[in-house]
Symmetry: C2
Subunit: 260 residues, 2 copies
């Protein structure tokens, strides 16, 4: 099943996507909803970020290639994580597919993408076992963890290096009933493939992250976990287009613009 949030005639709601059309629902697929008789061609609606989470967790480094790529960028030896330690991202920085990523005037003038599998929690999860963990998942979408490496390196926190307005593209929609181990994730910069990797190469898999987080912090329906990226990509500048495609989900496409 494919769930989206969309805007039509100035109103936003959730919708079910099938055969190139969106059927509007009232309510929220994570709690209660009712299917309406309204449906629209997909290309006549504006897709919104498919969820507005209370908490947006980002896996710390979760692919060996990202640890190594970032270390090479800094010119220091790689430091692999010894346990899953998530960070948080700003929920206010979330935008949807086809929206603009804004490069601040006082930045170095470029930003960097990180294509990520995004996991949407569907059930309250406290102290769940690895075996039970995936039962708490509502579905999967795509995130692009936009970063500004000089700020990320210079600052004590990732506030400015990761969380400026518009820097958390997510979408295009949420797909349910998928296996999180087999995703094929591709990052394309102006059509060129920058990364091409498998979620099977995660240091810790989705079920292990949910298990570990839920030992300490209850996860709630609508919370979202971004699962980390492979590699350490180059610079995007105003005028560029960035796409993250995940097999079985779709493509998240955004445009880089300069702050006015």
């Amino acid at each position: 099943m494919i769930w989206c949030r969309f805007e039509v005639q100035g109103k936003s709601s959730y919708g079910m996507v099938e055969g190139g059309r969106v059927t509007q629902v009232w309510g929220n697929p994570l709690r209660e909803y009712a299917v309406t008789a309204h449906s629209y061609p997909l290309d006549e609606v504006k897709l919104l970020a498919p969820i507005r989470p209370a908490m947006l967790y980002a896996a710390g480094p979760n692919y060996r290639g990202h640890v190594e790529g970032m270390a090479a960028r800094r010119g220091s030896p790689p430091s692999y994580p010894d346990r899953p330690s998530p960070n948080y991202r700003s929920v206010h920085a979330i935008i949807g597919t086809e929206e603009n990523i804004v490069v601040p005037k006082d930045s170095a003038g470029a930003v960097q993408p990180e294509g990520q599998l995004a996991v949407v929690i569907g059930k309250k999860a406290s102290k769940v076992s690895v075996d039970e963990a995936l039962d708490c998942v509502f579905g999967y979408t795509i995130g692009n963890d936009i970063s500004e490496r000089p700020w990320q390196q210079a600052d004590r926190t990732m506030f400015r290096g990761k969380n400026c307005d518009t820097w958390k593209p997510m979408g295009p929609w949420i797909v349910t009933d998928l296996d999180p181990k087999g995703f094929h994730i591709i990052v394309r910069h102006n059509g060129d493939v920058w990364e091409d990797f498998s979620s099977a190469d995660q240091i810790w898999d989705t079920a292990t992250w949910i298990h570990e987080l839920s030992k300490y912090a209850t996860l709630y329906p609508g919370d979202v976990l971004w699962m980390g990226t492979q590699g350490a990509d180059g610079d995007m500048v105003p005028g560029d287009t960035i796409e993250v495609e995940i097999s079985g989900i779709g493509t998240l496409r955004n445009y880089v613009v300069a702050e006015e």
Copy 2:
């Protein structure tokens, strides 16, 4: 004016506090509200955390004494911040006054308090000047940034060291129309004064933080900023009571318990 959230007869709502009574309001004082004819003695209602923020920002080190105290704890030289770099805290970890702080079974068995001024944003703030910044404030409350120092030091992020369930007490209520420079902040452990400091000693003041954050990330009504703490306090163990009192606001009181 004093605003609270409270629960009575199983229902939660906002209320106005005056003369030992709470007058219930419909709606939300940050947007629209209506005063009702219902009022209750303060000691007959359960106070809830006075706000459920979308984003809970925590000032990085914002008092020189905290930088020095933490450095002494680690046995390393103090490293003063060169710019305001906030971190985030889990909004799911927020509890109200008089609630229990739970020490996890697999922790070292103790947690540490950090008494903090909490600033509640009342107006959307993007790229505001220092002079305009305090116009965006709705009011002030009290936070206790519960920490587990061994985890904070060992982990790559502050997830487990700062954000376990119940570790973000906030309250007892929000007071409007105060000057954030003159607060007197006292931390009491089982009645003994552990810290006694002034918000005038912040490295960067409230207006500067709002100005700096709003350069990069729009602040929204209901977002909350915790403004840092002085010192580096000792251990709290199950059975202890911890209070943070701020002049002109009130007292946030919580009880330390062991995980069952």
